[in-house]
């Protein structure tokens, strides 16, 4: 499809504020926002948090050496806080991106969702609202805590996150009901399929995305076979030695074991991150291949964004793996890879907005 051309099916599949338009725009924005959050987290937070975990473990082993079990409770409570801080940020990043993927997936499935147009739009609004509020709630859990909460164990941020989760479940059940209607042959109100095109951008995203997922699976299989069990055994061994060193009041030995544990945690983290990121980027590329007919840019620009996206999708996981060998330099390059994916996503989002604008313009024949 040439730039700016609106296919005859466009109004039916991409009408003003239709469910599909909301899901595509919201989905790309959620994925880009979640990745931006992940990049900020990786640059400004990840290593500092790891250092704090190491310090807490050193403090715990010192309390062992000083035979002070009462100090241990405070130290582990502090360590729990550090882990919660990290966990909620990772969860916010992951949930925002996953909600974006699901939104794009449901945009694809809209032709098979046999519900009325206002019903589909309402579900899309529920889904995008839930997809935004869920990560925001999760992110705030660590900072809000139990302040002004009417409950003894659940804070306001958790309430927001859980309510957003419930909104997502309602939207998912609604979409499933629509799919069920379609499967039962009650597809009268379902919209027609998205415009078909066979452009270079679409083909390369589909093939490239499948290859990325395949690479991720091969890496995962390799990690499970070669490293997973070794890492699990190493962790237990290091903890055993750490306890012995602490009981023997050997402070340099303790520090050595804490370093070993930190290195092991790093090795596990980069392998899992590389595995999950390359598969997620592959899935993203496949999903984006379907929305290419809605990206109203010249073919040259569409190709540019596709190349930038696929290059970033390879660079990030590859250099995350190389972080073990080359340290922060590789980490910086990995973050740049993430930035490339974000920029490509924003480029495509602009294309979809241009498409929407062309469709909605008063003089447009599609209206």
């Amino acid at each position: 499809m040439a730039s700016g051309e609106i296919p005859s099916t466009a109004v039916a599949t991409f009408g003003r504020m239709s469910a599909r338009r909301l899901l595509i725009l919201g989905g790309i924005a959620l994925v880009a926002g979640g990745m931006f959050l992940g990049d900020i987290f990786a640059v400004f937070f990840l290593h500092q948090n790891g250092r704090l975990q190491g310090e807490a473990l050193i403090a715990a082993t010192r309390a062992v050496a000083a035979q002070n079990p009462t100090a241990m409770k405070d130290i582990f409570a502090h360590l729990g806080g550090i882990l919660e801080d990290r966990g909620t940020k990772v969860d916010a990043h992951v949930h925002m991106i996953d909600a974006g993927y699901l939104a794009l997936l449901f945009a694809l499935l809209q032709p098979f969702v046999a519900l009325s147009a206002p019903g589909k739009k309402l579900l899309a609004v529920f889904f995008i609202t839930g997809g935004v509020l869920l990560p925001v709630g999760i992110f705030l859990i660590h900072y809000v805590g139990l302040a002004y909460s009417p409950f003894s164990v659940i804070g306001w941020a958790s309430i927001v996150a859980d309510s957003a989760g419930a909104l997502l479940v309602v939207a998912l059940l609604g979409e499933a009901w629509g799919l069920w209607n379609y499967a039962r042959g009650r597809g009268g109100t379902a919209e027609i399929d998205s415009p078909h095109e066979n452009s270079w951008s679409r083909r390369i995203l589909l093939s490239g995305g499948t290859v990325l997922v395949l690479l991720g699976f091969l890496h995962g299989a390799w990690y499970a076979a070669a490293d997973l069990y070794r890492h699990e055994e190493q962790e237990a061994t290091i903890l055993h030695v750490m306890i012995d060193e602490a009981a023997a009041k050997n402070l340099p030995g303790i520090a050595n074991q804490v370093t070993n544990l930190g290195n092991l945690a790093g090795e596990k983290a980069v392998n899992i991150a590389a595995h999950s990121h390359i598969i997620e980027f592959g899935l993203l590329a496949i999903l984006l291949s379907f929305i290419q007919p809605y990206v109203s840019l010249s073919e040259n620009w569409r190709r540019r964004w596709v190349k930038v996206l696929l290059m970033g999708s390879i660079i990030l996981p590859l250099f995350v793996l190389l972080e073990l060998k080359f340290g922060l330099v590789a980490g910086g390059i990995a973050d740049f890879g993430g930035l490339m994916v974000i920029i490509a996503l924003i480029g495509m989002l602009v294309g979809v907005l241009r498409y929407s604008g062309t469709l909605d313009a008063p003089s447009g024949d599609a209206r």
Binding site: V64, L179, S207, F217, I243, A246, A247, I286
Partner: protein, 165 residues
Amino acid sequence: MSGARKLLIFGGVTLAAIGMLYGLYYAVFVEHQTLDSIGGSLDASFVHAAEGRLPEAHEAIDTYAAVKYDYVRQVDVHSHWIGLAMLMIVLGVAFDRVRFSERIRFWIAVAFLAGSVGFPLGVILRTVNRGGVFPSALAVGGSALVIMALLAAAIGFARQMRPKL
């Protein structure tokens, strides 16, 4: 809709529902107790060591390692079932673009579904029967099926890049 697409889309939706239901069951009935046990045993190991009770400290670390072994696999099964289901649905939408005969496409879809069910199932069975041959064979065989199906799909998608003769 072709048989291969139906298998991937409806198989994917069913697998996603199974993965989510399993996650819900695990979160409600098992996860909190498991996390308490992981944190509690690690905490206990250091407290016992500070009290000079080293055998108990080492025992607590062994408990920590054993519970964490199960936890990692339970969470992996949940996320892999849902992740594979999403991949099946997405590939199902595009599957007509895999340039093979309908018969080959159908068998690729069968392999994908069988592998996506079997691979995480083998992983979870390892928590019941550690070191058992059947769970390992199921996990390895399932992941091999998924990898082969993905490879075939990638080749099929790549074939559409070539102009039709």
